[in-house]
């Protein structure tokens, strides 16, 4: 039996298409997306406000430019394992927090850098005009700078989310969950007998990532006003994972 036949057989097993059993692909897909989304929300809540304030006062330019480089140099696999180890040392629930923390840390740089760059690159006239009609600094940040920088912020969110989808899969090595990565890691553990599971799991992760990319591309096309559409250049602030 070759790997393809093994994968087909694996896909035909009972519970494989269940939304409620851990052996189901839909169940793992939801888990995968949920974990990625949770990490993105936490990271955005930390990175966007801080970048907005720093960019408004033109502070921390060095941090903004080096954040992405630092993020690139840190291997996500190592970060996940290090956090897992520290959590087990401090006897924290080791199946959830370390992975979440690593994911949030990895999503911070693209969000921070894009928000910063988006605000700094705005034309000063719009901010001056807002100030001229009596907006406070907070109003300028929330009503002028954030909305105008939104396309760039969203591009950062897209990059961060795709990175998260890839990294959740890696997280299966230390996590009881791990989304679709679970199948790959379990398959690896079984040697040649696991080829079907490895192949099907790998395909599932790839399809999920491509689907997310597609959804984001559509969102960007329809949700961003044409006047604010940004160049493709700005979207590539990070790396694959």
């Amino acid at each position: 039996m070759n790997a393809f036949e093994q994968a087909l057989e694996w896909l035909g097993q009972p519970d494989r298409w269940s939304w409620t059993a851990p052996s189901g692909i839909p169940y793992r897909t939801l888990e995968h997306l949920g974990f990625s989304a949770l990490s993105l929300v936490i990271a955005a809540a930390l990175a966007v406000p801080s970048a907005l304030v720093l960019a408004h006062y033109r502070r921390g330019a060095f941090l903004a430019s080096s954040a992405v480089n630092i993020g690139r140099a840190i291997p996500s696999f190592g970060l996940i394992i290090l956090f897992w180890y520290l959590a087990s040392r401090w006897e924290v629930n080791t199946s959830f927090w370390p992975l979440l923390l690593a994911l949030v840390a990895l999503a911070l740089p693209p969000l921070f850098t894009n928000t910063y760059a988006g605000v700094v690159s705005l034309e000063p006239e719009s901010v001056d005009a807002a100030r001229g009609i009596g907006h406070t600094e907070v109003q300028i940040m929330l009503r002028i700078e954030l909305p105008l920088a939104l396309p760039v912020v969203l591009a950062g969110a897209r990059v961060a989310f795709l990175q998260l989808v890839a990294t959740v899969a890696i997280g299966a090595i230390v996590n009881n969950g791990g989304g679709l990565g679970r199948f790959i890691v379990d398959g690896f553990a079984e040697g040649a007998r696991g080829y079907g599971e490895i192949l099907a799991g790998g395909l599932a992760v790839i399809v999920l990532a491509l689907a997310c990319e597609g959804v984001f591309a559509l969102l960007e096309r329809f949700a961003v006003p044409r006047g604010l559409a940004l160049s493709r250049q700005a979207t590539m602030t990070t790396r694959p994972a």
Binding site: R72, G78, R89, V205
Partner: protein, 224 residues
């Protein structure tokens, strides 16, 4: 899970005892990175030459590279594992693939940025199309190409560690080893993670220096 017996966070003794293995894994890490970058560069140059000739080809090549770029590395390794086993090939194909988007984009941008006057002057001096590309356009595009190479190199060095999940992995081997023993070994994790970061920073610095040496005019013109 295994919190009862804690080893110290960092043990020099472990590093000394495993010095040979560390050097070997470091070499493996470098070899995987170099192979991925070399393959990626050759393919990207070929794609860039075709992209400069046909606009539609550029769109197709960039779109494909962009789609490949978002593929999770673990998924890619998993897809190749049943066919190529635990081999260099399984590791290098995805690693090389990820460099394409950055390299292709930077090579094309770099060449397109060559000022029209320079190009016209070269043609006026009787340069053929091929000589124009090799002697004028490529050298002038070098700073942008090396900038892309730096991003690709740092990215690849980080990604090589993921191959440890398949039982390979250069420095990632130590990261994996750190949690595989009955008592987790933080030293192995820190060595694997730390050396991977150091390697990325060093290679980045080396490429930056080579850019300064190969394209000194870029500095004088005030370009980054």
């Amino acid at each position: 899970m295994l919190a009862a017996t804690n080893r110290p966070l960092f043990e020099w003794r472990w590093v000394e005892r495993n010095a040979d293995e560390i050097v070997r894994r470091l070499g493996e890490h470098l070899a995987l990175t170099a192979a991925a970058l070399a393959i990626g560069l050759v393919v990207s140059v070929a794609l860039a030459v075709l992209s400069l000739r046909w606009r539609w080809f550029h769109a197709v090549a960039l779109g494909t590279a962009g789609a490949l770029y978002v593929i999770p590395s673990l998924g890619a390794f998993a897809l190749l594992r049943p066919f190529f086993g635990l081999s260099f090939t399984t590791a290098v194909i995805p690693l090389a693939t990820y460099t394409l988007l950055i390299l292709l984009r930077n090579i094309v941008t770099g060449i397109q940025q060559v000022p029209a006057e320079v190009r016209e002057a070269a043609i006026g001096m009787g340069f053929t199309r091929r000589r124009l590309l090799l002697r004028v356009e490529f050298p002038l595009a070098l700073p942008v190409v090396i900038a892309g190479l730096r991003v690709a190199a740092v990215t690849t060095i980080g990604l090589v560690t993921v191959t440890a999940m398949l039982g390979m992995g250069g420095l990632g081997f130590f990261i994996r080893q750190g949690i595989q023993t009955t008592t987790p070994n933080p030293t192995a994790i820190i060595v694997g993670l730390g050396l991977s970061i150091v390697l990325a920073v060093l290679v980045d610095a080396l490429l930056w220096l080579s850019e300064r040496a190969l394209a000194p005019w870029a500095r004088k013109a005030g370009r980054a």
